[in-house]
Symmetry: none
Subunit: 192 residues, 4 copies
Amino acid sequence: MSSTAQPRRGNTRQRIQDVALELFAEQGYEKTSLREIAEQLDVTKAALYYHFKTKEDILVSLFQDLARPIDELIAWGETQPPTLEAKKEILRRYSEALAAAAPLFRFMQENQATMRDLSVGETFKSRMMRLLELLKQPEGTMTDRVRCFTAIFAMHAGIFALRDVEGDPEEKQEAILEVATDLMVRAQGVTE
Amino acid sequence: MSSTAQPRRGNTRQRIQDVALELFAEQGYEKTSLREIAEQLDVTKAALYYHFKTKEDILVSLFQDLARPIDELIAWGETQPPTLEAKKEILRRYSEALAAAAPLFRFMQENQATMRDLSVGETFKSRMMRLLELLKQPEGTMTDRVRCFTAIFAMHAGIFALRDVEGDPEEKQEAILEVATDLMVRAQGVTE
Amino acid sequence: MSSTAQPRRGNTRQRIQDVALELFAEQGYEKTSLREIAEQLDVTKAALYYHFKTKEDILVSLFQDLARPIDELIAWGETQPPTLEAKKEILRRYSEALAAAAPLFRFMQENQATMRDLSVGETFKSRMMRLLELLKQPEGTMTDRVRCFTAIFAMHAGIFALRDVEGDPEEKQEAILEVATDLMVRAQGVTE
Amino acid sequence: MSSTAQPRRGNTRQRIQDVALELFAEQGYEKTSLREIAEQLDVTKAALYYHFKTKEDILVSLFQDLARPIDELIAWGETQPPTLEAKKEILRRYSEALAAAAPLFRFMQENQATMRDLSVGETFKSRMMRLLELLKQPEGTMTDRVRCFTAIFAMHAGIFALRDVEGDPEEKQEAILEVATDLMVRAQGVTE
DNA sequence: GATGAATGAGTTTTCATTCAT
DNA sequence: GATGAATGAAAACTCATTCAT
């Protein structure tokens, strides 16, 4: 962090993003004011506006930078054949991507109401729909569809919700992946 | 809705709650202003303060009134023996209770960041912990615990998340319950 | 002005309008901040917003209240036959109406750029067109039309522009009316 | 306008003036920000400060460059004998000078409130007084003085005010000059 | 002849809340 | 059981300006 003395270097934009993500995730988007972000960075509010056009723009930039791996994963997934093995791999990779962008996903999870009328919300929703499409079985029952849905959702929620459950983080993450994979597998209509 | 003409004596408090819940659920807690609530009710902001001490107080009152069935359900659950059948029944009843208080749960689901530093948040969290305790198997593995957790979470999320998936609402609700029950059953240590 | 002690009575709205008009006319619309208005009234900025929805709304209200006589005059003018005598009377009355709402017209005269993109601007422009229509002679030459136009404009400009010319105000006003009337008369097709 | 590609060395100062005048005239001085000017020129705000000390300085420079013909005209007028013929010639030339610097005069006409507390305002006012002095008859009545005043003002206002009146621009300009000349002539006390 | 990064002072506007009536 | 009038604090955002490079 080395904030002693003059940082004044070309990294301000990045630092704004870091602090913003931290505060957005901790307190929520609306409750985080630009004054707060600026103060924590020891710059003026106007400096934020030099780097970002609006408050929302800061959020958008976070998604652009951090959600890319997810996009790439989905794009990759769409090139795969719809085999069980491929689907398992998608979930495995999704679990990793999620862990890498944990604060962002925590933010999304906890600020859904806000996301809804922020441009970035729509974008995300459609991403999820594409992912769902990759995992589900075309002729599956409603129950199967719900299973797939739950698989994805469990991963999202899991990361943060289990924070206050005792246990090793890695172990938890693996357990979540296991449950999700299990749900997805059962959703393939292995019924009979 | 019969909102034409006469203000219908004595039910203002109730009407405030109705409108507040609707707006809180639709737009989020922070983005809903008391002015908005008052305007929609055609009373002044000051009138809200006659009935409730603060904005947060309105929210608290909603939880007090609407989350009671959940509390009662959990309390009832705690009197039951930890059999599979009882656990299934708890989930079944939970599904119903959730449906009955759907807007409130939608609100919670979508405003977690807000809930966190509102007194009512803690209350709710502990409720969930108690519910989890009821469903999980004491010596279960981490994976089993995650299954239980996912079961509950799936029910919460399901109600709203599936809104924009085609299909009959009741069918969806049943499917969700089925998936949740399934998860919980598997979590009972099908180990051997 | 009696601003000693507590004014707190139902006249705040009026007082806001008074001060606003004075400042808008003196410094221009954009250069007058709500802080300034509030300070001069010894209330908070928020108090202004209790009485008016926006800054622009204060201006609109001034027009609504002060430009009414002009509207009525034009409406009356439109009921008159297009005789020379009637047209003279219209100018005479217009001169009076202008004097009565002098600060507002000074404001308009000096803030045309601002008026242009304020809703109230369009309204005013059409008013002027109607007035012009009343005075001009249908088959008049371009020169005649310009004369009518100049007659009206001279009255608008005169009131303020002559402020720093020595001489008795009433005498000036009469002189302006005389010049305007003269212009209008000549515009009636002294063709032959 | 050839604004594609190469920046055309050395003329930036001129380009700033061009864009500034256009925007000042279109939107008013206060509503035009340096950011806007810079953006339209595709340079940074700081570049403007290389060429001009302040925002006001840009405006001052416009007057210095564009109002010179007016100054010269007045200076020339002051060398002429106060004959009717000379006065007519002054008006004729003034009409031309005005047309040549139309956007600047439009700006002045529409931003009087702003002009008033910009150094350049005083300068201009005294110019007008000198012009008035040239046209009026020393012992004229108040009415005569008003006529002279109106003559000048009509020319100022006319150019822009008639923009939305149908008709050929040149014809309009001539009509305005005719009316102004007429007013001035009558102001010479041709009474008897 | 310019830019990149920033600032300080300001703007309009909104909010939850209060209180005398 | 309410309203009318107001406040204090804060929000997001904009602007002219500066200065090291």
